[in-house]
């Protein structure tokens, strides 16, 4: 595929605009997913799933953050959130939000981070 001449390229932008992938929606049940929330696959995907949704499920076979997922499949976070909302509503994934202030208030974890940074 890469050796065939193509008039479209990175600079021309995507052929399918990101908003078209989510049928023009800008909001969904996935609006509140934190960038560092953990996504994991919990259900068996149906066959008729769109290619982007399949990409997400493939990328989330091991637990992955929302931000890492967006980088991995190279789509804007807003678009990924809408797709994640759909997948969750269909029982295919779970999204676990980091408890606000939970980890922040854990002294043991902060000390571990300090030691980990020193060891870098």
């Amino acid at each position: 595929m890469s050796d065939s001449p193509q008039w479209f390229d990175e600079e021309a932008g995507p052929i399918v605009r990101p908003y078209a992938l989510i049928r023009g929606r800008t909001h969904s049940s996935g609006d509140t997913f934190d960038l560092v929330a953990t996504v994991r696959v919990i259900g068996d995907p149906p066959d008729e799933l769109g290619p982007e949704l399949q990409l997400i499920l493939r990328a989330a076979r091991n637990p992955i953050s929302v931000a890492d997922l967006a980088v991995e499949i190279d789509l804007p976070v807003g678009v990924v959130r809408v797709m994640l909302g759909d997948l969750r509503d269909n029982g295919l994934i779970s999204v676990t939000s980091p408890s606000a202030g939970g980890a922040r208030s854990n002294e043991r974890i902060l000390k571990e981070v300090i030691n980990g940074l020193r060891a870098l």
Binding site: P18, Y19, T26, D34, L35, V36, A37, T38, R40, V41, I42, R61, N62, P63, S65, A67, D68, A70, V71, D74, L75, P76, V77, G78, V79, T96, P98, S99, A100, G101, G102, A103, R104, S105, E107, I109, L110, K111, E112, V113, I114, G116, L117, R118, L120
Partner: protein
């Protein structure tokens, strides 16, 4: 599906803020593997300037790239760094990012110290622990840490340190200073 049963990974957020061109991208890149995170956002009317021309729609979307880095402390413990766009019109992104954040690094350039005022104000108001890292650019007039503290009218407990964001050891020191500060803030709150 063993992963379903495994303990939830701990993800911590650190924000890197400061004026345009002050070294946010460089700092994130010095200490972590950096990736551009694309966000396509609706600009709220907060983002529309007072001098807008008639006929400009009240809302528009824009694509914003955020600097995004991750430091894996160990399996299941990851620190995420987000370089936040410094302009006020991106504050809607800050609100989301600062929710539950471990803390923030405000990078300051003493030649343009006013550029970091909005960041300092923001984190003071949100109660997010932060440190001020004075990036010592080549040839930049050197100011003492105390001068910067006075100029920014900082509380005594806010750490201010000189750094060179290009150097990994310096970037590490900034991050360690922040997490230690967060830990102290936490201890004094309990």
């Amino acid at each position: 599906m063993d992963s379903v049963l495994s303990e939830d990974p701990v993800a911590l957020k650190i924000l890197v803020a400061g004026g345009f061109g002050v070294g946010k991208t460089t700092l994130v890149g010095s200490i972590s593997e950096i990736k551009p995170l694309r966000t396509e956002e609706v600009l709220s009317d907060r983002g529309i300037g007072v001098d807008d021309l008639d006929g400009v729609e009240a809302k528009s979307t824009t694509t914003v790239a955020m600097d995004f880095g991750r430091i894996t402390i160990r399996d299941g413990l990851v620190v995420y760094l987000f370089g936040t766009p410094g302009q006020e019109r991106f504050w809607f992104m800050w609100d989301e990012l600062s929710h539950g954040a471990l803390g923030a690094v405000v990078i300051a350039d003493t030649r343009r110290l006013t550029d970091c005022f909005p960041s300092v104000d923001y984190f003071e108001q949100r109660g997010t622990p932060f440190v001020v890292a004075v990036n010592c650019f080549d040839g930049a007039a050197q100011h003492s840490v105390d001068d910067v503290r006075i100029a920014l009218d900082l509380e005594d407990d806010v750490p201010v340190l000189l750094c060179d964001v290009r150097r990994r050891t310096s970037a590490k020191e900034v991050m360690i200073t922040l997490v230690e500060h967060s830990l102290r803030t936490l201890a004094s709150a309990n």
